[in-house]
Symmetry: C2
Subunit: 217 residues, 2 copies
DNA sequence: ATATCAATCTAAAGATTGTTAGATCAATTT
DNA sequence: AAATTGATCTAACAATCTTTAGATTGATAT
């Protein structure tokens, strides 16, 4: 490209770097995963269901836009979002997409029309109930994600372990299960299982990114 | 693409439609222009310094992401942003870009290191000064953009007319000139001219999009 | 030193965009 | 009806991006 271009073009070009990072579905999925906490390339590839080579290539793009940062830990390279602003952007672009694209709203409604879907609720009143122990807020993500960040008063019980740890859950109390956010199905599966076992369980579609809780390093 | 894909992939794909709309510098420039008010393809092409064909193709993309809408007005097709959320997104992605990309910060600082650059100021105190008439807030964009939306107590004086309308400006008062936003140079040029003519003029880098003022149709 | 594992780099095929030219369409003017 | 103007559509080429394979690097384990 010519070097004689106006400073104005340069400015828009820089902003477009962020847009480019956000224009691939898989890169967005990687951002969402990183909003849950730092992860190695291997883990990211597995959780996004892509090859490690492809994951590495996408992460390269995200790093080119400075949305993610890396450190090496032995054989592994650990990726994390650069700061809280990245998670906020992920929530913001998703919210615009939901506002503008009927297709997305329909798909979400389809996901939500499922037994145990929780009505949108005031956050502080949910926290109050959880604090008093009147409901159990259950984080069904992998344990390391819980450690990196979790909702207030939440208890960790990864989906995979849930089946074998039902005894830990007091009967008769409402269980509010959540996972990585509205696009994640872990909490839905957890609610299905819990209801089958006779619990009063509902799914909270929001996760740490939506609550503005940044993962600690 | 295969049709057997998971619902999850479908969700990320929808969000990526918004990212795709925002991954081209010229499309971003078109969004910024539309944040100032509705415009015909012809006008957009001229103001973004591209051919009408190219403008039309880019606008097609923006419409595919439902970020803009159109109506026909005689021979002209008028484009406008779909709603306020689009303008908010434009401010948000720009702010993330500024947060993450040193190159962008440097370019902006270079623009700001110019006589008459205004220190970031509290909005309500500026409005108070403008209301009392202690400063003149001057909108130097084209008149139709002023009509579509403008800052409180602002007075319209398009850059092109400024030279011939200096007599309308009371001497001895501070003039705060603004235009389309931080990436626009009209206010800078206006301040240059005013200072040459002996006025105490400063540039406010923000515009209607940054102040959250949506253009009326 | 050799082997192994996680990750990246390089190169190349395939798919997707960006951009332009020419034809076409829709509304208005003559 | 014909000409004009603004805008879009179609087709094509160039440029870019996605994805995979093969070679390479950095760190650890044997």
């Amino acid at each position: 490209m010519k070097d004689s271009r106006h400073i104005k073009d340069l400015l828009y070009e820089q902003v477009a770097r962020i847009g480019k990072a956000a224009c691939s579905p898989k890169r967005l999925e990687l951002i969402e995963l990183l909003c849950q906490g730092e992860k190695s390339v291997e883990t990211l590839a597995r959780e996004a269901a892509i090859s490690m080579k492809l994951a590495s290539a996408h992460l390269r793009e995200l790093r080119a836009a400075r949305l993610v940062e890396t450190t090496r830990q032995g054989k592994n390279v650990i990726y994390r979002i650069a700061n809280r602003a990245v998670a906020e952007f992920w929530v913001a672009i998703r919210s615009l997409a939901e506002d503008r694209l009927v297709e997305l709203r329909l798909a979400l409604e389809q996901m939500a029309s499922h037994p145990g879907e929780m009505a949108p609720q005031d956050r502080s009143s949910l926290v109050k109930l959880a604090k008093k122990g009147e409901v159990i807020v259950l984080d069904v993500r992998p344990a390391n994600e819980f450690e990196a960040a979790h909702l207030p008063f939440a208890r960790s019980m990864p989906l995979e372990e849930l089946k074998n740890r039902l005894a830990e859950l007091p009967a008769g109390k409402t269980i509010v299960a959540y996972c990585r956010g509205p696009y994640c199905l872990m909490a839905r599966d957890a609610v299905d299982l819990l209801r089958k076992k006779g619990y009063d369980a509902v799914r909270l579609s929001e996760g740490v990114a939506e609550w503005g809780i940044a993962p600690v390093r």
